[in-house]
Structures are given as C-alpha cells and as structure tokens.
C-alpha cells in the first residue's frame, strides 16, 4: 500500500493515545509521512509508542516535536488544545498545516485560533472513529478505514493546504467531508455527545439504586444494559471536555430528547400501545439504513463472540 512519495515529509503527532496512535499506524501503513515525530505528556507513553513503532522519534516537549514539521496533529483532549497550541506556537514552521482531532470544533477554533502564527495553515479536523479504549496500545491502522473525517476550515483557508490534509486522511482510509464548525457541533451533539451522555447517565442510575443491587445489574447486563456500558467506558477527561465545550448544542439536543421521552412516558402511563408500536417500527428502519451505509456491521449483536466467557472462567 505504500505510496511512492510521502504526502508530508515530517509529521508531528502530539498526544499518543487511541487517535494519535492510530494516525501513526495508518500513516505508516500507507507511507504518508517521511518521518513521524511524537510527543505525549507521560514519558512512559512516549517510550511505549517508540517501542510499538507508530512514531519514529519521541520528544521531551510538544514544541520540540512540532519543530520543522510539515503537518502537526494535536490528539489531546479538547480542553488542552488551546494551551498545547500556545506551547508550540513559536516552533511552527511557515507553510506547515496544523490540525486536531477534537470532537468539538467551534470552541477549538476559538481556543487554538489566536495562537496560530501567520503563514501556518490551521485546519480543524474530527475523525469519526474510536473505541472505548485509550492509551498508546489502543490504536490500530484500520481505525479510520471507511469511516468519515470532517474538516472545518475557517473562511479564507488556503485551498491547497486543505486538499493536502484531505489526501492525508484519505490515505489513512477515511472519507473526508468539509463542513461549517457550527453545523458540525450541532450534528455531533446528537449523533455522538448526547448518546455518550445518556449512556453515562443510565449506567450511573443503574448502579445507584436501593432496590436493585449492583451485582444484579452486572449479572444480567446482557439483557440490554451492557450495550450502554461501552460508551460509558470512554475516556473521562476527553468527554468532560466535550460537554464543557459544546454546551449549547448539547443542551439543545438534550431538551429535544427529554421532550420526546416525556411523551413516551405518557404513552406508557396511559397504555397507548399504538404510539409505542409506531415509534418502535420507525426506529427499526434507521438501523437498516446505517448498515446499508456501511457504518455498522450487519452481524447480530455487533458480531460479539456468542460464546464469550468470563476471562478467568468465573461465572
């Protein structure tokens, strides 16, 4: 799969967790970078990333890693993007492309934008892919295959730079869409942020009851509950920052959700079976569309191994 010529001679990946690691793996798979320089706050993570080999060099600071890079990708929680940009501001090369992988875009433009020197092309990005794992061992080259990556360049951004970044993401396996940051934040408030919030909330509720014990909740989780626990196992820092930085859009979608839930509650209270049946039929069709769009597997139960047992053999 290696291309004859890298798209960017030197790439810096700041933050070496699930997303940073997967970018490193994917870039190496397709030969998209001449050299990948990496930085993570934890020395242990830097050592591990070098060991695994998804970066070529590890650096003691973000500024050092970013020095001379043609592409700098910040893969740190949304709340840290502003301060990291301030740290590397002085070492960014003229003509470099600066991007991120944050799940929120308007607040990121506000936080990073003021630190971007003239001559550096700042193009915010959001790859729509992930797992519930984190850390340098969580990444893999296929994470972005057939997923979407959204870029939200501000008006006036250099077209050639956007095209180059697009080719880089396509080389990582993704399809690229360009979108306004405000619209991005609204779309992801409903397809990503609210689902995570709801998942975190129900797991909290379920483990906080007097009449049902936590061990019962765990034991019988296969009846539906376990599906929510995957999202609710996502990185706490990342998700705290998402909610703090996309407040208005999340509150708007949460309002809609609660309104609909109140109406469903009323249907249950009054035994309105037709209203329930109508909704349950409509939602079934949506899953079919998602599978048809290649955005989920059509294997039942997400293809979970049906024979999975307790790792230690306990019941």
């Amino acid at each position: 799969m290696a291309e004859s010529k890298p798209i960017f001679e030197r790439v810096a990946v700041i933050g070496l967790g699930l997303i940073g690691g997967s970018i490193g793996h994917a870039a190496k798979r397709a030969g998209l970078a001449g050299h990948i320089a990496g930085y993570a706050r934890s020395g242990e993570t830097r050592v591990r990333a070098l060991e695994i080999g998804f970066i070529d060099s590890a650096h003691e600071s973000a500024a050092e890693a970013a020095k001379d890079a043609d592409l700098v990708i910040l893969c740190v929680p949304v709340g840290a993007l502003g301060s990291v940009t301030a740290e590397i501001e002085g070492s960014l090369k003229k003509g470099a492309v600066l991007t991120d992988a944050g799940s929120v875009k308007t607040a990121v433009i506000r936080d990073m934008g003021s630190h971007v020197p003239d001559g550096v092309h700042f193009i915010p990005g959001h790859p729509i892919a992930g797992t519930e794992e984190s850390g340098p061992d969580a990444g893999f080259a296929e994470l972005f295959d057939n997923r979407w990556c959204i870029l939200t360049p501000v008006p006036g951004t250099d077209k050639a730079a956007t095209e180059k970044l697009t080719r880089f993401w396509e080389g990582c396996g993704a399809n690229v869409d360009v979108m306004d940051s405000k619209h991005h934040d609204l779309v992801f408030a409903i397809v990503s942020h609210l689902p995570h919030l709801i998942a975190y909330n129900i797991v909290g509720t379920a483990t906080d009851l007097e009449k049902v014990t936590q061990s019962e909740v765990i034991k019988y989780a296969a009846s539906g509950f376990r599906d929510f626990t995957r999202l609710a196992a996502s990185d706490p820092t990342m998700w705290r920052d998402v909610f703090l930085n996309n407040r208005e859009a999340v509150l708007e979608m949460l309002g809609r959700f609660s309104e609909d839930l109140a109406s469903l509650q009323r249907a249950i209270r009054w035994g309105d079976g037709d209203a329930l049946f109508d909704l349950f039929t409509r939602t079934r069709a949506i899953r079919r569309s998602i599978v048809d769009a290649g955005q989920d597997t059509d294997v039942p139960n997400f293809g979970r191994d049906p024979t999975h047992k307790a790792p230690s053999g306990k019941k």
Copy 2:
C-alpha cells in the same frame, strides 16, 4: 454433547422466532428432548422451522402442538401469553411443565395463571439472551451459553418440576436463578426495559430534527449513535407488550433516570467539570465488572469487524 436420556420426552415450543428457535437448536444440540413439536401462527414460519430442523413436527394449532407434551414453552410476545394459554388449556397433560420466555413476570403470572389446569406445573421463566433479529432464521444453539435464565415459580410450586426445568435450561447452556416475580420486574426494568426505551427514544429524536438531516445522522452514526440503534431495532410487538405489562416498574426507573439526567444537565449548564469527571470515571469501572463477570466481550467495539464496509460497496 448429547445426553443419554432426554430430560423431557416430548417438548412443545409455541412461537418459532429467535427464542423459540434457539431453544429448539439448543435442546437438539444436547439431546434434551425426545421430540420437539412446534407451532407458530404463520404457516410460512412453521414450514421454515421444519426445514431448518429445530422442530420435529409442525402443528396447525397451539393446542395440537401442546397435546401430550411433557414441557410446553410459550415463546410469544408477553401480550399474547394469556390467550395462548387459554387456547392450550384443554390439551395440557397432567404432570406437564408449562413455562414461558417473557421479559415480564408479574403480569404474565396474572394472565397465564388463571388458565393453568390442576396438576400442570406452571413455572414462569425468562432467558436473558437475545439479538436484534427475529423470525425462525434468527435462532442458534449457542444463544443461551453462559447467559442467565430466571425462573419465578409462585409459592407452592412443585420442587421436582422446578428442578427438571432448571436442568433443561442448564442443558441449553444457561445458568439458572430463581427469584420473586416482583423483584424480577424491577431488576429488568432497569437493566433491560429502560435501556431499550432510551434507545428507541434517542433514535426517534435524532431522526426528527430540522437542523440535522436524517442522512447526516446515518452517515456519522459510528461516533456513538449506532450503538443505540441495535436495541432500537428489536421486535416492536415484543417491546410494546413489555412496556404495557411492566408499567409501574418502568415508570419508577424512568423517574430515577430523568432525575439523574436533570442533574447532569445542570452540571453541563454551569460548567461543573468535576461532577462530570466523577460520574464518567465511576461508570468506566462498571463495564470492567461486566466483562469480568463474562457478560460481555472484552474486545474493543464489541468485536465489530473494523473493516466492515457497505454491503453493496457504496459509501
């Protein structure tokens, strides 16, 4: 795996969908039944079940299938259990065990109980297993392996009959728990019914917005939303009946959920990052416990094939 001697000479399975089919497959795998008689309302389903071979004979009525059976298992939606029991009432053999697979137990005892003739052992049951698929082709022998099955016998039930049914479910691969029906309904209101309700609701909300199109929701579903669509693709009739028949417990749990959600909403509005971080950390530990208990896979993303593509190759 076949036992030397069947646990029940003649088993009748009424309802030949995901659960009825899986019981047939599992019973055959372990030689638990001398003969499996089947009935489904649809003639097409009966023909298909015979073709697949998880029943040995198909019958024109539930009463005919139940005749002479030593174990009768009703695998129809909760709302139909009362009328099906009335239909078979006259043909149940003395000493037979009658059970069901409904997700609600108190209402089922009320609906079925009055139709159970003297000398028939009525032992309500609930296997905690399933997928989002339905119909005679959806079942498979491993569905109950290492899952739980709950029995809720009413006081005074024959101990030997309960033990025999327990052995049957264990032969199907399940672990069996015995529990009071009211407690069952409360536990499953939170671990199963509320998760399904929330999933149906958010899928409804997401596809009903003006500012975000349905095609955007589908396209970007991999960012979290798609996890909910699996539960929201479950059988509409089955789930309508669950909510109509476990109203009080569901409303109680829904009240708790909404209370907690309001508090989370407030934390977002006021930028209380610590409250968010604390909850998100607590919920992460719960998933670990579920995996340790053997009730979910520890493979990231539920083990979804990371390369899954659109079935037709479209993007």
